[in-house]
């Protein structure tokens, strides 16, 4: 295997919104490389639809404190409030900055950035839905990704496109660089770097029905987890209420923000029963649970009673065309339904990881539950857990998260690089990885242990046992299944023995990350004996602030998972019952 060495000050892994934003901050001040397994513009940030919130007050009175209140309440009080304050305060400048870089936001008549309503966002701490989400039709994420990439092009940032990072080098608790696999050639590249930021996105592919891309396999968290870094709040995985039935393709909350209504098989607007004041615009965890409850009570539509309807028919063709063009196209393309005339079959879809690599507000990775900083390693975006989303993220806050904390990751890299000296990485740094790969290549192929088989079983069982509603029993069952899958993974084999574009090899390696993500999710969920935000235990339906107002930290402990806990940082808002 050919090994090639590069020397940089800083490396950013991932070129989604978070990675690119960090790059813009860091590139002028150091020798920087952005390594990404996809071409940057293929990152899943481009799939985000609805908007990004900031209290710009372009439509009506607004204030970042209200935004912070909503975020904390939406998080079911699990978010760290100082971090939330930063998120909501810096939101305003972040949006304006993106606009200055060219982001084509939709506009109001007076020329200002247009804003729309979104789930869980209210004015005056819960009085009425707020117009807070800045948007560009229903392609906000696409525009953010394009704008940030364009900015990087204009700055001449160095990219390594279609290079997949598979290992990090940490010696004596200090980061020295990463090892990447060049997909087109099969060559191994050693990147010497003092500062490394992981912005590798989510891991929705642990579930069967998901809005996430095939590439979202939790690489960043997986790599660090295998090095002994804990993963925070993994039990909180968000299910978006409106995925296209069976496919999971997302229909943005913007559809409801613009006035769309959820109906059960009888045409009843059932959200009136679950959230009387803001109805269909309740936070996602509530709406997803409401749908799951409707379905389990036999109110679902269709022959199997397993979906509900998203009704846009009353919005009018013009609104749909102007404000929701893409999602209506998805419906036309994949379901062959005309949303102007017919309601759309939807079901909750695995969407967003609130948990991930633990970081402080400066995106510095923490190596334990007491807040010890791991020098030189940073994380931002969906791969990180700051935590600003707590137990449930509000719609539009993730696009905000990626720019606010992406920028902070970049700044932290700059600070760190300017205060340290280059460190050398030995020539044999890639040995672990080359051994791993050679091992996979040498084994004879056996269908029994093929990647797709194991992965399919993983996704099916996670869907069944660890989705919206969880019980001790289902989680224990899943733990056993995972142990079995892990055993089978030890023997995993591949049929492609080539060097060029061997994506089967990479899928095999990614499968291990998926197993890691599932292990930590299930273990954390099993231990948390309460229901909070996206984590609903049928056997512990109440929120328990006395015992569980804490973040979980899942560590790798040989084959099992070890859990530690850290108190939530409170601030202006005392935990209260969450009603909408």
């Amino acid at each position: 295997m050919k090994v090639i060495k590069h020397s940089f000050d800083g490396v950013i892994v991932g070129a989604g919104g978070a990675g690119l934003r960090a790059a813009i901050e860091a590139a002028p001040h150091m020798k920087l490389a952005v390594i990404t397994k996809l071409y940057p513009t293929r990152s899943h940030t481009g799939a985000a639809q609805g908007g990004m919130s900031a209290a710009l007050a372009n439509v009506e009175e607004d204030n970042w404190n209200w935004h912070a209140f909503d975020t904390v309440k939406g998080s079911d009080y699990l978010a760290d409030q100082p971090a939330v304050d930063i998120l909501c305060k810096e939101a305003i400048d972040s949006v304006v900055e993106l606009e200055h870089w060219g982001l084509p936001f939709s506009r109001l008549e007076n020329g200002k950035i247009a804003q729309r309503r979104f789930g869980g966002h209210t004015v005056k701490e819960g009085e009425a839905p707020a117009f807070r989400a800045c948007y560009a039709a229903d392609r906000t994420g696409h525009m953010i990704l394009q704008t940030l990439y364009q900015k990087c092009v204009s700055m001449g940032v160095t990219f390594f496109d279609e290079f997949q990072v598979l290992d990090i080098k940490i010696d004596d608790g200090v980061c020295k660089g990463v090892i990447a696999y060049e997909i087109a050639t099969g060559n191994i590249h050693i990147f010497e770097a003092r500062a490394v930021t992981f912005a590798t996105g989510g891991f929705g592919k642990i579930y069967k029905v998901s809005s996430n891309a095939h590439s979202l396999t939790g690489d960043g968290p997986g790599i660090l987890y295998q090095k002994g870094i804990p993963l925070e709040d993994m039990e909180f995985y968000q299910f978006h209420p409106t995925g296209i039935y069976r496919l999971g393709i997302l229909l943005s909350e913007a559809a409801r923000g613009e006035g769309g209504i959820l109906r059960n098989k009888d045409g009843e607007r059932f959200m009136e029963r679950y959230a009387p004041s803001i109805k269909d615009l309740a936070p996602r965890d509530m709406v997803s649970r409401a749908i799951a409850t409707e379905i389990s009570e036999g109110n679902g539509a269709g022959p199997n009673n397993d979906f509900v309807y998203l009704d846009l028919t009353h919005l009018g063709a013009e609104t749909i065309k102007q404000k929701l063009p893409d999602i209506t196209d998805f419906v036309r393309t994949y379901v062959k339904i005309e949303p102007i005339n017919e309601p759309i079959p939807v079901q909750p879809t695995a969407h967003y990881a609130m948990g991930g690599i633990p970081t402080d507000v400066n995106a510095r990775v923490l190596s334990d539950a007491t807040g010890t900083v791991l020098p030189g390693v940073y994380s931002a975006g969906e791969s990180a857990c700051v935590s600003v989303h707590g137990a449930n993220r509000l719609g539009t806050n993730s696009l905000l998260d990626i720019v606010v904390f992406g920028k902070r990751a970049g700044q932290s890299m700059v600070d760190y690089v300017s205060s340290t000296k280059p460190m050398a990485l030995s020539e044999n740094a890639a040995e672990d990885l080359t051994n791993k790969i050679e091992n996979l290549m040498d084994k004879d192929h056996n269908l029994e242990f093929s990647v797709p088989r194991i992965r399919e079983e993983l996704q099916d069982t996670m869907e069944e046992n660890a989705k919206i509603f969880r019980t001790e029993e289902s989680l224990e069952k899943q733990t056993e299944i995972l142990t079995d899958l892990r055993d089978r993974y030890q023997n995993v084999t591949i049929s492609d023995k080539g060097k060029v574009f061997n994506t089967e090899l990479l899928e095999a390696i990614e499968l291990e990350y998926l197993l890691d993500m599932s292990d930590t999710t299930v273990a954390s969920a099993l231990h948390r004996k309460e229901s909070r935000g996206a984590h609903s235990r049928v056997d512990h339906v109440e929120r328990d602030d006395k015992n569980w107002l804490k973040h979980s930290f899942a560590f790798k402990n040989d084959a099992s998972v070890k859990l530690e806990y850290k108190d939530v940082e409170l601030g202006n808002y005392e935990p209260k019952e969450r009603k909408y």
């Binding site: 002028p28 001040h29 200055h100 870089w101 900015k151 204009s154 700055m155 001449g156 700059v414 300017s418």
Partner: protein, 132 residues
């Protein structure tokens, strides 16, 4: 450490173009096309449709060229169609000959041929005198 000012946004690369040749060539193709509708299609219909070419003989041509108007008409047709056709072929060669040397050779060949034929055609139109 270098710091970026807000006004540094937007890196500029020098244009790769420089001349307006392609622009004018493109525009010329359209304008000459418009004229050629009158000239070439006109010529074509007069000679081949309204008058049958079977009747075409020395006398016919000579009579036509007795008037300076038809000589001018034909010369304009000659000039425009050679220019239009040559530029058209230049584009075709740019598109279809990948090898740079071959392409250059072909282009020189084309320009030479076109010039020669233009001179020949012009000479005929100017020098012709009726023999009878």
């Amino acid at each position: 450490m270098k710091s970026v000012k807000r006004t540094d946004w937007g890196r500029r690369t020098p244009p790769i173009g420089g001349t307006n040749f392609e622009l004018y060539a493109w525009f010329f193709m359209r304008i000459s096309g418009l004229f050629l509708v009158l000239l070439a299609a006109g010529h074509m219909f007069i000679m081949h449709v309204f008058n049958d070419t079977l009747n075409l003989d020395y006398e016919f041509v000579a009579a036509r060229w007795d008037t300076p108007y038809w000589r001018t008409f034909d010369w304009l047709l000659l000039t425009l169609s050679i220019l239009h056709g040559t530029n058209g072929l230049r584009i075709v060669m740019h598109d279809n000959i990948a090898n740079k040397t071959f392409r250059q050779l072909a282009l020189y060949g084309l320009y030479f041929t076109s010039t020669a034929f233009f001179i020949l055609g012009t000479y005929v139109l100017v020098a012709f005198v009726r023999e009878v």
